[in-house]
């Protein structure tokens, strides 16, 4: 059981190996291997969930190997290869494996360069799982890059006309983000001589650590910490994305294929939120607390800006892109609260939005495939020709709005609850976003599904059986979490107390 995380992370590579050995012409075989390989991490992730000890807030399933030692004079700087998960990363690991397994079904529609499609998808899955299971910054960074580079190709090879530009934009924005991350990591490394999350947290927060005693050799000043905090915030702001760093997302969502968007909106942007909790909040809790208001304001700006612009879009994909910006603002709100409810809300929102956004984009892509457009003005009345598909679309939209009984409700409720305790005025302003969300989502989705139908759209094929799989699975999860949130919040409690010592204090 000790190396289960390493197996989980690297098992997709095994699939890549199999794929490389397959001849190009065996399309069905390639599809089968690709889809089956994504099932293995899913199974392992569920096993982890089952075996997870909710009573412990520590890292579990830890495995540590020696990796790199850099000799410096008589001493050495060590970087380990270490895996482990806690209540924060476990839900995200499960989310990743679910979303990737669903995205792999998009491959059913792809005929061109299928082998590369699955190979890249699996490499990306390895990267994402690695990001969430890594226990040190260096390893985190390596896996982080493993999500960006394959995504560049993934976006650039399959997609619409301007896909290459969109891919480059994605690469550059994320490249800037990772460059900032690397600077911060290096600064931490040369000052504290460790990259391990736990050790860094100890070094920064333990009052007895030499870095926290003023007027001693190793003391790291408050300004120094603030600098690191802001740099990290900036890096993750690009990832989440916080306006005005969201433009890469618009181009990417407009021009890429469905699988790329599902993964990007479902998992990749959650890395930003994960990083904010794992690094910003854990390493520099006092600054997170002091700057809570600023972060909350950023969150509110994100919510309102995203919502207003989503209202103005006629293109469904762009509407959803802005809605992502808006929804990720809620994550920021939860974090800014700096209390248990807020943090839970943030993590809930990450998982919930990951599932909902992935499914929404999937369905939009199905509509696009059948009608050739995603423009609301050209759609309408789809409920007549595709009742099942439209039904699912409406349901998941309700979840996105935050209807009670769905995961969206729980996450928004908790985030706002947390923020109301900490910053009531900002929370009140932010709550406007809930209304706006309902308005823009209903406007566009109802516009597409009801009303007069075009003649050309009268006889469309409803959801095929394999297309139903993602709908059923994701919708199921969304409702289960909504009805029984303890599934998710249970394992989280202890960890959150552990990660942020100042919570509640």
């Amino acid at each position: 059981m000790t190396s289960v995380l390493a197996v989980l992370t690297f098992v997709p590579l095994l699939g890549v190996l199999f794929l490389l050995l397959m001849p190009k012409s065996q399309q069905n075989m390639i599809r089968t291997i690709g889809i089956l390989t994504t099932i293995i991490p899913l199974g392992l992730a569920l096993m982890l969930y089952a075996g997870f000890d909710s009573a412990s807030g520590d890292m579990q399933f830890v495995q540590q190997l020696k990796w790199i030692t850099i000799p410096v004079g008589q001493m050495a700087m060590a970087i380990n290869f270490e895996f482990g998960i806690d209540g924060l990363s476990m839900p995200l690991v499960v989310l990743t494996s679910v979303v990737v397994a669903m995205a792999s079904l998009v491959g059913m529609k792809i005929k061109d360069r299928l082998k590369e499609f699955y190979a890249l998808l699996l490499v990306m899955e390895m990267g994402m799982l690695g990001v969430f299971t890594s226990l040190n910054l260096f390893q985190f960074f390596v896996f982080f890059e493993f999500t960006i580079i394959p995504m560049f190709f993934f976006m650039g090879i399959w997609g619409y006309v301007n896909r290459e530009k969109a891919a480059l934009k994605f690469l550059i924005y994320n490249g800037v983000g990772s460059a900032i991350l690397l600077i911060v990591f290096a600064v931490i490394f040369v000052n504290i001589w460790t990259l391990n999350f736990k050790e860094i947290t100890m070094a920064f927060t333990d009052p007895n650590s030499p870095f926290n005693i003023p007027n001693t050799m190793g003391y790291l000043s408050e300004n120094f910490r603030l600098g690191l905090f802001i740099a990290l915030l900036l890096a993750f702001a690009i990832k989440i994305p916080i306006a005005p760093f969201h433009t890469w997302m618009l181009a990417a969502y407009k021009e890429s294929n469905a699988a790329a968007i599902m993964i990007s909106s479902g998992v990749l942007i959650k890395i930003g939120g994960y990083g904010l909790i794992r690094m910003n909040a854990a390493f520099f809790p006092e600054w997170m607390d002091k700057l809570g208001t600023a972060i909350a304001i950023l969150g509110v700006i994100n919510i309102l800006y995203g919502a207003v612009l989503a209202l103005a879009q006629n293109e469904l994909k762009l509407m959803l892109a802005y809605s992502s910006v808006s929804h990720m603002g809620i994550v920021l709100l939860g974090l800014a609260a700096m209390n248990a409810e807020g943090f839970q809300g943030a993590i809930f929102q990450m998982v919930s939005h990951g599932l909902i956004a992935a499914l929404l984009f999937y369905i939009i892509e199905l509509i696009n495939e059948r009608t050739g457009t995603t423009d609301i003005r050209e759609l309408g009345g789809l409920a007549k020709s595709m009742p099942v598909l439209s039904g699912v679309l409406l349901t998941v939209t309700m979840a996105a709005i935050g209807l009670p009984g769905t995961s969206g409700f729980v996450s928004e409720f908790m985030s706002y609850l947390g923020l109301f305790n900490a910053h009531p005025i900002i929370a009140a302003v932010g709550a406007l976003g809930i209304i706006l969300t309902a308005v823009y989502l209903l406007r566009s989705i109802l516009g597409a599904t009801f009303g007069p139908i075009r003649e050309t759209h009268e006889s469309l094929i409803d959801a095929r059986s394999y297309e139903l799989v993602p709908m059923v699975v994701i919708l199921g999860l969304v409702i289960i979490i909504g009805v029984y949130p303890a599934l998710l919040s249970g394992p989280m409690q202890e960890t959150l107390i552990n990660i942020v010592p100042r919570i509640g204090g």
């Binding site: 790199i68 030692t69 000799p71 891919a167 690469l171 600077i183 290096a186 490394f189 040369v190």
Partner: protein, 517 residues
Amino acid sequence: MNGDSKWGVLGQYDWSIMAPELTILVFATLLSIIDLLLPKKTDRRIIGVLGLIGVIISLIFTLSNTGTQPASILADMYRLDSFAVAFKAIFLTGVAFAFLMSLGTLDKKDVHYQGEFYYLLLTALLGAMFMASSADLITLFIGLELLSLSSFILVGIRKKHIQSNESAFKYVVIGSISAAVTLYGMSFIYGLTGTTNLYLIAERLGNVYQGGFSYIVYLAFFLMFVGLSFKISAVPNQTWAPDVYQGAPTPVTAFLSVVSKAAGFAIILRIFIIMLSNVIDIDPTTGEMKSLLVDNLGLYIGIVAAASMIIGNTMALRQVNMKRMMAYSGIAQAGYLLVPFATFTVLLFEQTLFYLIAYLFANMGIFAIMALVSKDQGHDEIRGFAGLFQRAPLLAISMTIFLLSLAGIPVTAGFFGKFYIFLSSVARQNYWLAGIMMATSVVSYVYYFGVMKQMFMRTNPNGVNKIKVPPCIGIALVVAVVVTLFAGIFPSQVIDYLHNNFLFENMMQVAEQVVMK
């Protein structure tokens, strides 16, 4: 044997420590004679194969010297220490790649003087090896000139190629000027200390600096640095690189971009680190003591590094020709390689070597593939790479690995090399340099990934015929890929090897004069 032998003092020395150089010298001479005796119609590749054998023998001799105590002949006129061994191993590997590349792609119609081509490569290598393996300004300078002169001819060897002629001329002019500038700087140092031996200079320069000659020391440093920056194609002496790279035959371009550049770093590090090791700057008001090299000159070297990174990376964005792009990329890489020197720490030697190794294999791989592609397409432009993935998937994947290594993406050697370099600049709190380094790295993504875009996302208008890979290039590529990935995934193994076998202190130790037993 004693000093009374008929060879005089020269007979006292154990010349066998010079085996690597002597091997190259013997092979160069041998090849020129064989070239003369071979019938005109015979394939000259046999000379190339022999040359390659010579390089490999020399490499074996060199590596057999790893980890030994420093030794010298004639008061460090020739000096064998870990610094020399490490750099010579890099040069020899680089030249071996250049040979493999030439054997695979050199076109008789293009390069008429094939025999000369091969032994000029060897003499250039000989020059480079002396640049790494001496601690005397005169020997170092002659090595530099031997390398320069050989490469001038190699650049212009495509006589019917107008670009080749032009670039060779440009190279000669700029090369001579920078050699003159270097020499001018050296003359000041000689004038101040009365010796050309670096260790004696180091002994005397400290007092000279204190004795009111600080301005002249600065002047000499800048003159020498500007002159030597020609070889590493760093700002301000970088303008020749794009034209010369474009005009030269591809294996020569590869040689210039790797071996010649590494030799430039060898001579720069050797001269300045030893020469300025005792020079201490005392602040007149506070009385604070600072090392001139570590604390004061770091700023200027940092500025040169930053300017090289910025100019190289931004200019590379606009290139449509692959060789020109690689020239600008090389300028930027020179900037990265100067960072450890600008932010002097104990890690300097290992950082530079690690990055050079990463750079060597990535660059050589890229040029080898480029040589194949441009031979197939008939031009050197980046669009020639379009659809390479469909035509030769393995080539495209190896190319991607090399490009990722240059861009500094995990898990390639280039990533760890950059991270490693990065540590010292952050540790010295040189944040502006670290910031520029990262920012320009991101800029470099645009053009490195631009090539990948061509390979994976475009289709070639000239059809999807396969590209045939000659076996010697195949070998070169396999080696380059394996090393790039190995050093990227297990950097510790490489660093440990460097750390244990190539001691930096070794360079500062007084060498034993090896005497025959």
